[in-house]
Subunit: 337 residues, 2 copies
């Protein structure tokens, strides 16, 4: 059996529990639409850190101790019955784990074709941010003209959301913890950025500023990557029939909810996670990404935002940097040259 | 100009500000799809009390000082261009105000035909409860087999929801403040009823009981007519991808929200009000009611739950009784014999 190099979580803990080890190349098991991909580019996500710390077990069907949720690479082998791809095709997508290794297997319909204009190291840092933002916008029933407030606008998902909203005909607003994090987003099309004020009671305050910037009307959609009291302020920032999609909980696991505003404005709050989705939903969001987002990647209207690129051997260093919360954009991982 | 008898809110205040006065019969203004209805039956709703107290101004286009949101009656006059109805047709529906009078006008598409099996006094107590429950179930994407938890299950909306869920192939659960209020709902098809426990900290507690009654899985939908801390417990009661529709705020205007549960279970919370809807939505919910609910009313699978019936002259007494919060089911109002 041939082997491959993989990042392995050898025990729950800090970045130093990550070691590069030899593992068996994952098998193609029968005529089940499985494709083996030789991974070239990938990137880090917060879920990798949580998994490394032992708090986020991988779902069934993926390696439990190899992190990595996104990838770009080349089709290396096909199970009988696969019709969509040929050996050598350049593909990218999401998996529930196991992408920080030289090979992975996945269902043929969970792959999208990488545009000729993108190299695979860049492409490997795109799927998680773009699909998270795009899927959240779809859940929020985004339509051209919508005003969208994006929290953590300096994060990989935040920067992808700003570009997507602008490219799809919406108006992106955003928050970040400091003015530097707003700079990059502004260059990518952010209409107006806000640094939440915490001077009054320690809680973030931005709703009054958002309302002032939208003629008192508020925004149609909030993409909330932060959670905590941001939800309370986000609800205050929403226009009539506005939608808040909750994607992350960095700022906390609870918020007061102003029910009279939810009722009177007919607001909607939806929680979402990508990783634990069943196969049919993973296929659906990948196909939506292929149809609606990949063309924007091909012509450069939506671009990868890579702060720094690491070799697979440097994965522990990359984990430490992402854990510092001082990054803007993605930390890419080079699995192969 | 001919006149009619109408309940009039003569000043903001208690039930005694309601007087029966003579008012002009509302005009049919041009070829605009307007129908004049001679009202025979109506019923009280909590919004009438709030309007009487001066906290709920009527929207534009309806009398500002005549309460009444639902009615059944006979088509009495047609504007040019109305094709759907003929004089004498028996119709029922919702208006944003003005139903507690002998005549009202409304758009022809906001009326549904009363089944032959129903008298107009019974029919007048059906639209608000049935449409509120049905519209909320539609917003929650109800499907046969769904488990639905209905709060305030002894209220008019609560009892309508229990019958609708059962008639549409779902499994209704419910809460009420005491066991007597559960009795009627149980006779109408309630699977299991719960009286929230407030002994621990004064906050209502029912989620553990709901989970125990659903094999630990939780319910797919919560119809929350109560608000306050019920929302917190409702979120705890929801299954994966569950939906909570917030319809009322009797128990309070704020609740803590467990964001980690909203995220991990991909829950959705939606606020809704019927009264302030634009015409196109009023038409849509009336047509949905006509197609999906009226047949259930015709064959008796969903029935009116009238606790007591009052003559129009007794409207102040009816307001006082509804304000006591001690009613089960609807308080009907006889506008004409």
């Amino acid at each position: 059996m041939s082997t491959m190099r993989a990042a392995v979580i050898t025990a729950p803990g800090g970045p130093d529990v990550l070691h590069i080890q030899q593992r068996p190349v994952p098998a193609l098991s029968g005529p089940n639409h499985t494709v083996r991909v030789r991974v070239v580019g990938s990137a880090l996500n917060r879920a990798d850190l949580i998994q490394r710390a032992g708090h986020y077990p991988a779902p069934p069907g993926v390696p439990s101790d190899i992190p990595g949720l996104e990838f770009a690479g080349e089709v290396a082998a096909l199970a009988p019955g696969v019709t969509r791809w040929q050996i050598g095709d350049r593909v990218f997508g999401l998996v529930p784990g196991g992408a920080h290794a030289e090979y992975l297997t996945t269902h043929e319909d969970t792959l999208a074709r990488v545009p000729d204009t993108l190299d695979l190291h860049t492409a490997g840092a795109l799927p998680e941010a773009c699909i998270t933002a795009h899927d959240a916008l779809r859940q929020a029933r985004f339509a051209p003209g919508d005003r969208v407030l994006v929290h953590a606008v300096g994060s990989g998902v935040g920067l992808a959301a700003v570009q997507l909203v602008r490219a799809l005909g919406g108006i992106p607003f955003g928050t970040a913890r400091n003015a530097e994090k707003l700079t990059h987003a502004t260059a990518l099309g952010l209409e107006t950025g806000f640094v939440p004020d915490t001077s009054a009671d320690g809680h973030p305050s931005f709703a009054d500023a958002v309302l002032a910037a939208t003629d008192g009307r508020g925004v149609d959609i909030v993409l909330d990557l932060v959670g905590g009291r941001y939800v309370h302020e986000g609800v205050r920032s929403l226009a009539h029939r506005g939608r808040l999609v909750l994607i992350g909980l960095l700022a906390g696991r609870e918020s007061p909810l102003d029910l009279s505003r939810v009722l009177a404005r007919r607001l909607q709050i939806t929680g979402t996670v990508l990783r634990a989705r069943p196969l049919e939903e993973r296929i659906a969001f990948t196909q939506a990404f292929a149809q609606e987002v990949v063309p924007l990647l091909a012509d450069g209207r939506v671009r990868a935002n890579i702060e720094r690129s690491f070799a697979l051997d440097e994965i522990a260093e990359a984990h430490a940097l992402l854990g510092s919360n001082e990054t803007t954009g993605k930390l890419a991982l080079r699995i192969a040259d």
